[in-house]
Structure formats: C-alpha cells, structure tokens
C-alpha cells in the first residue's frame, strides 16, 4: 500500500468532489495533498510541485480533460510512471476501454464510498508493486 506521507495530486473542476476525495483519503491515513481545478492545472502542478506518488483525477473537466491529462502524463519521459486513478460519473464500456488503452491504473465510478476508493488505491499499489 502507499505510505501515508505519499504526495497525492487531486484534480477535479468541482470543489466539492476534490473535498470528497480528500476526506476519503484522510480517512485512509493520507495527509499530503495538492489540488488542481482542471487537467491543465494538474499538469502544471505535476511539473512544478512534484514528485507525486499518485494522481486522482476527474475525467469530465473543461480546458484539459482527465483523459487528455492522462495521455500527456504517459507521453512524458519523466512522469510516465506516475500512478494515475481516474474518477468518472459515467461507466460506459467505450470510456473504460479508452482509459485502459491510455494507460490508466484504475477507474472509479461516482458516486463512491471511501471503501471503494481505498480498494482501488490498494489495487494500484499492488499492480505497481508499491509497499
């Protein structure tokens, strides 16, 4: 599992969802967060405030969407191995496929409980051999 001091980037255009994610992550024991309001700001944060141990990003955002942000991260030689979890309000098969092809580590459908998010983060840690 990720260490409690892991620096986590939370990206969502809605303040409320950033708070919900942060609340859940605090309940899991994490405390080191940076927030960004869209994919572009998330990208800027990754490049100026990193390194980050995990990115938790919404999909549907103005300016740069979550999937575009993920593709940028995966195309960058310095950032491409950053664990990346996508949040979305939709669960259409095509969307899941697109995220998997783009290299997402995990996919959480809203609404979600802390338990669901925790399980997904544990799966990411296992997949990445993070202990």
């Amino acid at each position: 599992m990720f260490k409690p001091e892991t620096k986590i980037l939370i990206v969502d255009d809605m303040t409320t969802m950033r708070k919900i994610v942060q609340k859940s992550l605090r309940e899991m024991g994490f405390s080191n967060f940076v927030e960004a309001a869209d994919g572009q700001k998330g990208w800027d944060s990754l490049n100026t405030m990193g390194p980050f141990g995990l990115v938790v990003s919404d999909w549907n955002m103005p300016n740069v969407t979550g999937i575009e942000f993920l593709k940028r991260v995966r195309a960058d030689s310095n950032l491409k191995t950053t664990p990346f979890l996508l949040l979305t309000a939709e669960s259409e098969v095509e969307q899941v496929k697109e995220a998997v092809v783009a290299g997402v580590d995990g996919y959480v459908v809203k609404p979600f409980t802390t338990e669901t998010l925790k399980k997904k983060i544990e799966e990411v840690a296992k997949k990445r051999n993070i202990s």
Partner: protein
C-alpha cells in the same frame, strides 16, 4: 456520362441512402439534386449508408447540413451508418457530428429515433425519467448516506418554483430531445446534505458550498446517461451550472411544462425538474 453515386430504398418509414463513393467537389451538382429528391421521400428517418466513403468535400457537407435542417424542421431524422474513422474525424473536426448523427447499425438508428421499430410510440416520460430517479437515489444514498424516498412525478402547473435557495442546472441534448434538468434544494435541506457528504457544518449557502449542487447533479447525470444509452437515448456530455439566492425561481426558457420529481429524505424534501423541449 456521370456515375450515379447514390442508390436508395424505403421500408417502414425508413429511407436508406447508399453512398457508393467519395463525394468530391465536382460531385456537388449531383449531391444537391439528390438531396432535393430525398426530401420528397415521406420517410421519417433517413439513413446515409457511408460504407467505403472516406471523403466528403466541404461543398457537399453544406448540402447534407441543409438536408438535416429541412428534415428537422419537419420533425424528421437524419442518421448515418458505416462511417469510417477517417470520415468520422473529418465530420467531428468540422463540428458536423450532429448533422450526420452516426450509428453502428440501421437498427440502432431506428431505436434511437423511435422510427420503424418496437420503440415507436414509446412512453418517453417513464423511459426518460426513471433513470434520473434511480440515479438520484443511488447518488445521495452513497455519497451522503441519505435515506431517500422518491415521490410520484407530476407536471408543474406554474412556471415558478417555490422555497428554493440553490439549484444545479444542466442541458440535456440527444437525438430525440433537447431540454434541461435542475435539482432544487431549500437552504436548510441542502446544508444538511452538504454536512452529511463532507462533515462540514455551514450556517448559510456560500460560493464554496453551492458548488455541491452542481456536483450532485453531475454524478446523477453521469449515471442516468449510462442507463439512458441502453434505452437508445444517447445524451451528450454536459457541465452543470449552479444558481443560488433567496427564494430562487428556476425558470426554463422552454414553453413546455416542467416535470417535477419530488424526493423525501431524512433531512427534508427537495425536487428535480426536467423540461424536454422537442425532438431535435
């Protein structure tokens, strides 16, 4: 002698137009003439079969746009099937996806338009409203641990809402409808829901707190969108906006009456309003 680039057949209110080659600039006269002929066909659904077509010149795109507009004015539909990735990228790049309205099959296009299929004459109200009822219940039960009882939907008699202090509003757009949806809360109820969602107690609705009305609607819409797609309603993505103020009056620009979905919860009552303007 000029090659005929189109063939077509009609059955059960569906007119399928097969396009047999790319449509270059010098084919414009034939496209224009064909569009005029197609408009005389009484079918309610016109489907362009674009198998093997990789390119449609901009001049011809104009005629298809006019075709779509003329059909829409008569409450008829245009769809397309067998669109190649190359053509899809061109159409999307030109902002004309809604003109060509691509589908995977004739059956899917028929189902979506409600023409010539078992869906003809379906009760749109229940088909369309139930996913929003289910999604609202799931969203607030999961995200705010709220116990929720949906009431019986009804048609709003006046165009004014009462006892509303904050609302999330979102546009609904798909082949069958355009419209709007709003989730409307009295302040006391909304602040309780916010507290249950985030553990924060607020005495009044401020900029930070009101954002939650948009996010709640966003999550509800995402779930409903997935359910509605299975029923043949392919809603476009949308980003919600939030309205807030004392005794807010949510008023849609549509002349259609709003359908109200009331909800009772353990922190008080709130409701959702849906207006479906017309077939697009």
């Amino acid at each position: 002698m000029a090659e005929n680039r189109f063939s077509s057949e009609s059955q059960d209110g569906v007119h399928v137009i097969h396009c047999i080659s790319n449509l270059e600039a010098d084919h414009e006269a034939e496209v224009e003439k064909s569009v005029k002929e197609w408009l005389l066909n009484p079918a309610n659904l016109h489907i362009l079969d674009l198998k093997g077509v990789l390119k449609i010149h901009g001049n011809n795109l104009r005629h298809f746009t006019k075709f779509k507009q003329a059909l829409k004015a008569n409450q008829k539909f245009l769809a397309s099937i067998n669109m190649s990735d190359t053509l899809y990228n061109t159409i999307s790049g030109a902002g004309l996806k809604s003109v060509f309205n691509p589908f995977k099959s004739i059956e899917e296009a028929k189902k979506s338009s409600g023409v010539g299929s078992a869906k003809k004459g379906l009760k749109v109200d229940a088909e369309f409203l139930n996913p929003f009822l289910t999604a609202t219940k799931t969203t607030l039960e999961t995200q705010a641990s709220l116990k929720l009882n949906p009431g019986k939907p009804f048609v709003k008699k006046t165009r004014e809402a009462s006892n509303i202090d904050v609302a999330g509003v979102l546009n609904l757009t798909c082949a069958q409808f355009s419209g709007s949806i709003a989730i409307c809360f009295p302040a006391a109820v909304f602040l309780k829901i916010y507290e249950k969602m985030l553990g924060e107690v607020h005495q009044a609705i401020n900029q930070e707190v009101q954002d939650a009305a948009g996010e709640i609607l966003n999550i509800i819409f995402g779930q409903a969108k997935t359910m509605l797609k299975e029923k043949g309603f392919n809603l476009e993505r949308a980003i919600p906006t939030v309205l807030a103020g004392d005794n807010l009056k949510v008023q849609f620009s549509s002349s259609s009456p709003a359908i109200v979905l009331p909800f009772e919860s353990d922190v008080g009552t709130f409701h959702m309003e849906i207006v479906l303007d017309s077939e697009s």
